[in-house]
Symmetry: C2
Subunit: 293 residues, 2 copies
Amino acid sequence: MTVIATSSSLGLAARVASILSHELIVAEEKVFPDGEKYVRIPRRVSGDAIIIHSLHPPQDERFVQLLLTIDAVRGVGASRVIVAIPYLAYARQDKRFLEGEPVSVGVVLKSVEAASADALITVDLHKPSSLDEWLRIPHANLLPVQHLASYFLGKLRDPVVLAPDKGALARAQLAAETLNASFDYIEKTRDKITGGVSILPRQVDVCGRDVVFIDDIISTGGTLIAAARSVTSAGARSLYAACTHALLISGALDKLYAAGLKEVVATDTVPSPVSKVSIAKPLAEAIAEFLIG
Amino acid sequence: MTVIATSSSLGLAARVASILSHELIVAEEKVFPDGEKYVRIPRRVSGDAIIIHSLHPPQDERFVQLLLTIDAVRGVGASRVIVAIPYLAYARQDKRFLEGEPVSVGVVLKSVEAASADALITVDLHKPSSLDEWLRIPHANLLPVQHLASYFLGKLRDPVVLAPDKGALARAQLAAETLNASFDYIEKTRDKITGGVSILPRQVDVCGRDVVFIDDIISTGGTLIAAARSVTSAGARSLYAACTHALLISGALDKLYAAGLKEVVATDTVPSPVSKVSIAKPLAEAIAEFLIG
């Protein structure tokens, strides 16, 4: 069994290979003068191969690299090609919100299958049922919320875990159980007299308490920044944010610190300056299950 | 029947719609802050739809846009989705030249099919048999060489058409028939005494004659620039270059003019400053054949 790494998830792949005691092969990559990508697997493999390749920005280029890598790995003798996509781009466009739109996640997943992947593992997919909906190959989705929450163990005083909306309340609850904390979701309200907007927990009082915002993705961090201001005004002690996928677009991290966040923590599905929690262990376990199953 | 245009081939799609007297719908396109592409077809279609979308650089982004567009068109009621890709990126990686490489063209074609295209039309594909090799859906490849050669009718004196290598000699012959010209292919030779390299026709003498270099793609134009110098030294009168797909990477057009080319002519498979020959008519005819067939 061989773990195939690309530049997209090199550190994570190396960790997974080490945990599983499997050989690690790093794909050769280059870009032609016209912009076409080139990938080559520098030696033959025997048995199963696991490609670990995340689709963080530039996501279209990484998507093509992934498809090329799957085909190349197939060509060097792998018996099964298991693909792990720690961050799956286009996962939020999971239905036709407006008529005339594509289901982008379906398009991406069908291409991965068409490139001849034998199984797919994702991490904290925006809508996990997208896998059932679009794939015929075996698949699994890891939810590393408790793993992520554990980072804060022993660091917080009287903590409250806050989800960005009602739909994400289960995520906050999972993290809260790990931290023995309260949990709630935030809601935007407008003061009828002043017109001012505040974004606060629906029920829980944050005064004097440590607050952990938890979400699947931090992209531009817009809502989080606004919520941080409201929660600070409401007397919260220290603010933290935790997410699985830290895209941190357009200087989001600086803006979060400027908004009063004490610390931002993410996993290594997207390599970032705040990727302090590795998903290597749960990913290695999921891969091992696939290999047995 | 509806022609769907994207920013990738807007002018060509408009021409094709006009020739076929079909409705033209221009897809809405945007890019999210994190770089993900968004496409929307702004109204429903009835009957067959033709998407015309070329994969010139940035090819990976256009590739994703194409897959999203196919899925979106499928969602607005098209009975068949015929896809025309005037320039197909990754077509030159059509086999595993080295062990460990992908067959990139196969990966691209399989994704287009997986996105639910019902038929595919390409133009001057690097290896036309790639379509047979990788597609199960109906397909056709247009070869607009005579169309391109016609541009030069009445403009040349005692012309010679030159192919860049032996494998492209049939292309030069086709163009030469249209122009009532001689044809040959060029070869690189090294002077055993001086060590100087010259790139000249194998047999035909170019002295005092107009020369048309013909190729499928002009990318960086490297070989063409070197050949232009040799052919000029050999006494050629005026030099022209004609290609189907003008990628013209890294200032290639300026370099070609600097190397003595009098004119560079290409089709509109890739929109460029030298796209003087439209393939709209042959493409419209090919589409009409698909619709009947």
